[in-house]
């Protein structure tokens, strides 16, 4: 398949099941909601070492938030419910509770729930106040700038992590420009995040390493400087490869995000130095979700 001179490889991205939730962080104004959300989603690019993958889904105006203040919705994913709960609790405690004027709410109603402010309340040292509003419990925790309001629980959804595609370009600048264009379009799709810095990862990994202590290492087949040194997957004219990783609440959400992202890259086309779109997979052994690039773009 070729779109605007860009070859779409006959391959698939391989993704795996994760547990995820959506949280809504509000604050006195959009600036402070964003600051808190950025702190909450910091150091959350890959479960390999961060314990979770998190990102900002979108900004919310006052009409979309529970307390009528500006907010930000964030998505956070982990490999299991326990891991997710731990990450949410520590990040909420250190990055949202601490952030001036913030409040924290669940953005996902699911049958399965986990703690959100349930344990943070103990920071109140006995002065915390519980309120049941519309069947949901909230905690009012006295803090130095007033009260930190947080919902007790949030829903946990069976989600999908690790959707991806690779952009193969003639230069680093062209690969980056294409990825930026893709991310801009993908951010418009709800229920997904691209957890890496700016949504783009330049150090795609393969499973395993020559070093026993490591379970992942550089994806040498796509490293342009190794074209003559390893079993490379790159043609001579490809000088830079960047990857976009997508986590989403459902497979369909990732499908949509990949479609608009790849399309945005292809719109730049061969004329802008984009040669191929490929994807990372592990022969189908790692995850049950397969995103076939040509099917997505058909």
């Amino acid at each position: 398949m070729i779109i605007n001179g860009v070859t779409i490889d006959e391959t698939f991205a391989e993704a795996f099941p994760m547990k995820g939730t959506r949280l809504i962080i509000t604050a006195h104004n959009a600036k402070w909601a964003m600051i808190s959300a950025q702190a909450f989603t910091g150091f959350a690019t890959s479960v390999i070492a961060c314990g979770c993958e998190a990102g900002i889904e979108r900004e919310l105006d006052g009409s979309e938030t529970p307390d009528g203040r500006p907010g930000v919705s964030v998505l956070i994913f982990a490999m299991g419910g326990k891991g997710l709960a731990k990450q949410v609790e520590t990040r909420a405690g250190q990055c949202v509770l601490t952030s001036p004027t913030s409040a924290l709410f669940s953005g996902l109603d699911e049958e399965t729930e986990m703690a959100l402010g349930q344990n943070l309340r103990f920071f109140g040292d006995g002065f915390q106040i519980s309120k049941m509003i519309d069947g949901k419990r909230y905690w009012r925790i006295p803090v130095m700038d007033g009260e930190f309001l947080t919902q007790e629980k949030t829903g946990v959804a069976a989600s999908v992590g690790g959707g991806n595609f690779l952009v193969l370009a003639e230069s680093q600048a062209q690969a980056l420009a294409a990825c930026e264009a893709a991310i801009e379009e993908m951010k418009k799709i709800p229920n997904v995040i691209m957890p890496f810095p700016g949504g783009v990862v330049r150090s795609g990994s393969k499973v395993g390493s020559k070093y026993k202590a490591l379970n992942a290492s550089t994806n040498d087949a796509f490293c342009p400087t190794l074209k003559g040194q390893t079993k490379s997957d790159l043609s001579p004219e490809v000088e830079s490869v960047m990857e976009i990783v997508i986590d989403g609440l459902t497979k369909e959400d990732i499908d949509k995000a990949m479609r608009v992202g790849i399309q945005a890259v292809c719109d730049l086309g061969a004329e802008k130095g984009i040669r191929r779109i490929s994807a990372g997979n592990y022969g189908g052994k790692l995850g049950p979700f397969h995103f076939h690039l040509q099917e997505i773009m058909a």
């Binding site: 002065f127 106040i129 309120k131 509003i133 519309d134 009012r140 007033g146 309001l149």
Partner: protein, 271 residues
Amino acid sequence: MSALTFTLKAAPSQRIDCSPLTPELLAEKTLDQIKAIELVSGKQKLSVESLFDVAGDDTNDIHVANSTNKLDFIGRNMTHGKISVDGDVGAYLGLFMEAGEIEVNGNTAIYTGCEMKGGQIKVNGNTGDFVGGARPGQKNGMTGGTIIITGNSGDRTGDHMRRGYILIEGNAGDYCASRMVSGTIAVLGDTGAHLGYAMKRGTILLTKMPSRGITANFNDCGSHTLAFLALLFASFKKLDSQFANIESFSRVQRYAGDLAGIGMGEILVKI
């Protein structure tokens, strides 16, 4: 289907226990079976037919017409459906109620919504004492649900209240929120003497300073903007009540008490 209607034939001389007349206990009964149900009245047992004219067939929509304040225990242990009452009702309206809806177009006597667990009671009139309270000797009053009173409530409103909402559009009597454990009582009118007496936790929300002021057992914690109030008022919007129409506010003067006890309760007064 039409509402199952019980029209009281004449004012009874003794109090009547109406607890068998709930949607769950009447479900799948024929009209003849319903008429034959015996209700306790003093030392006697009287058939429904001897007290009420009975018509209709929808046991999930029960209507009591021509009611008096001698009809006790209406909606006891109710778990679904609706009971509407025209006229006054007696004591223990909605005792132990778990879900569903009761609406009274009249006044209620003592212990309205006593130890209710959920659902909604709306009284288009005044209530007696101990609304949402606990029975004598019991530790917990209502543990969930909402009671809306369009008129005034009696004394000891929310006594031992554990959870839920009591929304009073008129005035609250003396000892409002006495021994309250948790939950929320909101009053649009005035409150009587000894507001929050022995209150442990919970919230009393007032739209204006009580005419008697705040008792010495409560300390002023200052004026604050409390984020949870926006959520609270948003939850009121769906109610058929003046509370749905009041303009949301989050700026309040906060008083903590009763400091003679653990002092974790609060009175919030709009500023």
